[in-house]
Chain length 393, copies 2
Amino acid sequence: MDDISFPKGFRAWGLACGIKKNGKPDLGVLVSEPPAQVFSAFTRNAVKAAPVLYDQTVAAAGRKLSHVLVNSGNANACTGTRGYEDVAAEVALLREKAAPKGDVMVSSTGVIGEYLPMEKIRDGIGRLFAAGETFAPFIQSIMTTDTFEKRARKTLDLDGKEVRLGGVAKGAGMIRPNMATMLAYLTTDLELDAGYGETFLGAVEKTFNSISVDGDMSTNDTALLLANGASGVRYASLSEKARQSFDAGLRELMEELAKLIIRDGEGATKLVTIETVGARSSEDAKAVCRAIANSPLVKTAFFGGDANWGRVLAAAGYSGAELVPEKTALEFCGVKVMANGGALAYDEDDVANRMKAKDVSVKVDLGLGSAAWTYWTCDLSYDYVKINAAYRT
Amino acid sequence: MDDISFPKGFRAWGLACGIKKNGKPDLGVLVSEPPAQVFSAFTRNAVKAAPVLYDQTVAAAGRKLSHVLVNSGNANACTGTRGYEDVAAEVALLREKAAPKGDVMVSSTGVIGEYLPMEKIRDGIGRLFAAGETFAPFIQSIMTTDTFEKRARKTLDLDGKEVRLGGVAKGAGMIRPNMATMLAYLTTDLELDAGYGETFLGAVEKTFNSISVDGDMSTNDTALLLANGASGVRYASLSEKARQSFDAGLRELMEELAKLIIRDGEGATKLVTIETVGARSSEDAKAVCRAIANSPLVKTAFFGGDANWGRVLAAAGYSGAELVPEKTALEFCGVKVMANGGALAYDEDDVANRMKAKDVSVKVDLGLGSAAWTYWTCDLSYDYVKINAAYRT
């Protein structure tokens, strides 16, 4: 069973309809029965793909959702009027074949600027709901340059009642705040009211919007949480403690998926955790994390196993955050290397050894306040260049 | 003769004092006799190296400048109180050995976070002004990972009188707006009043602040223009046409040096010119240029010779500039590939051939207004990763 269909009332599957040239699964569907309350976060790129624009209208309508259709291999982005018409055609086909009880959302990921191969998709949607077909896991149908499946599940005991959470994501290149080329689908059989949206968006900020592979942001990024209430448990009826327990469980699941995306960043050899503390504001702490996470100089230094704190400090310095060198301290993998704006004596061999691990970290203490943020990124390797210089050719 | 000492009244030279382990020149001095009016632009990084902080106080004092001392191999950045004391010691040594008639500025470039080897520098400053020494060109003493010398000169006829311009620069990695790890020194024998600063800063914005190798910004970036009036020609006494001719000549010289820096970007194989037109404001046009110039996905696509306009449009989309996909058009190397938010039919072989050149371009027309900006960047190659993963080790 796919992790995403681990909570009660969810089913998900996929197949290969020929969008991808390599014959791998490229069309999938997630179904919630009963239809689910949906919470959504989309790319902030001014250039939004047609399916994102469509999904935003569905989200705004606020009705329950029963189906999400996803294709990989083609992003249906920068496809003008025809792109929108193709989304409408997909939705019409889904309505015809699956008779959804609720609303429908559509996601696409893959190459930008090419029209969807609608004949293949038409055929594929038919097969998704036909008897006698053999299906692939949903997660496989949403992958592009991903090298492994990103999925997670969790069972929570809330006031003595069992509630389930599940999730899948795709990522790889072009990931950063605002979830570039990232798709993430989360499901729960807890019943959530529309008012939960703010908590969900807060968790998105701390997880999917706090990761970066290369600082780029795609036209298609989407994170959805579907809550169908099939467990019979209502969030609103839970104790304060149980509600906090659900909030924390959901965020942990999202963080787990976000980190898996970074581990599979194009060419990544390391997961780098960047922690900024002592900032004047959360915005400052996040800005420092982001500047460090997106610096090619810092990322190549991590690839080389080099505790190059000068590059880290320089990146923090141009982040726009309030920073006083004389109050700033830096740690690599738990070892203090800089304080009060100057170098500390430290055991270089010890730090070099720690930097060889697959999980490394850098911590910046701005020494100005009490705000903090955590961010995850990967290193920048030869393979990143190789993968991205050759992607279309 | 060094290009920087091409204008009358300037001399410049250097030598190896042992800061660089490879024995190459690492200490240089530029002298203006008579002392020159100085115009300056420094890094906007919140973390500024000690020499930058010192030079800013000199600039604020507004007196004439007679000497600039530069070392490479060590940036004297993130060196705390001792860094400032070392700058003061350098200045005192220079005053003792060279008896400057005007003020003195100091620049440093190289590794961050290590103290200047003051004994070597003390010895080096002595030798710079000793009889019987053999000197290297100034330009060589300011280079770090640069693979070639960046220099330019120009003679202008202003109202029938000859005025000379010269310049040298160093760059390579870590270059972007605000001139990260960039040093540029410009000289002219024209007499300029203090009021020329605004024109100089405008030219810096359009040249040294419109280039990017990797989007990082260093702690030491400095651009200086020294004008000593040794030609006997005063800017204030020139005709309007001659003044415009000087402004244009200076900016051309700066653009020439800026492009040389990009051609020598770490691992660069191509010079990419990014032009944004039709923007609502200059700020928007520049933001679009910068987002494209700093996108690793765009830069690896250029390395691969791939006219990947989807990545260019996605970068423009997250730049923060006002952008309407349906009004946006894109060109690669003069060939229109996208208009009105959608792909155009174009000859892919033709574009692929053009993308193989060493000089390539991308043009974005936002279709919203009349503001424009031009930016220069390089591609992102295997060698960039190689150089930067191994820089310190």
